[in-house]
Symmetry: C2
Subunit: 91 residues, 2 copies
């Protein structure tokens, strides 16, 4: 069991993604929480709520930010991204 | 010159903070971009715009996230925070 799961954050309520993170940790040692644009704030909320209230043993291993070009040709725009890698110590 | 400047992100337009980051680098080797709650997405935008369009030589050295308790006694709430440390290689 050394796979990595990914959770993409959209516009659902925070707790929907918290549940997704918890479920993902049943299948993998590490989980990446990914978000774009306005959902970046939610991604940080999801990680903080998961750590504080549900899985106090997880660690934030790495956080990276970047830019993606979205949209059709001639109407492209830049969108910021975040990727927060979480891991859980093995028992 | 080894001081660190801080830029606190609020609800002004992105470019106001981009300017603040650029100005801060005239006084210090590293700049921390700090934000809470919904402003977290803006903080990432500010760093990405600064790096891409104004100061292509800066590095994202460290990103940390956390939680702060805000509000008066009996009405406290948790707010997520981000701190993005930027540095510029010495010439």
């Amino acid at each position: 069991m050394s796979t990595e799961e990914k959770v993409y954050v959209g516009s659902k309520p925070i707790l929907a993604y918290v549940t997704a993170v918890i479920t993902s940790f049943q299948k993998a040692d590490s989980v990446k929480v990914m978000a774009r644009g306005r959902a970046i704030s939610s991604a940080v909320d999801i990680v903080e709520v998961t750590k504080r209230s549900f899985m106090t043993d997880i660690n934030v291993e790495d956080i990276t930010i970047g830019t993606e070009r979205l949209g059709e040709e001639g109407h492209e725009r830049n969108v910021s991204t975040i990727s927060i890698k979480l891991s859980r110590p093995k028992k």
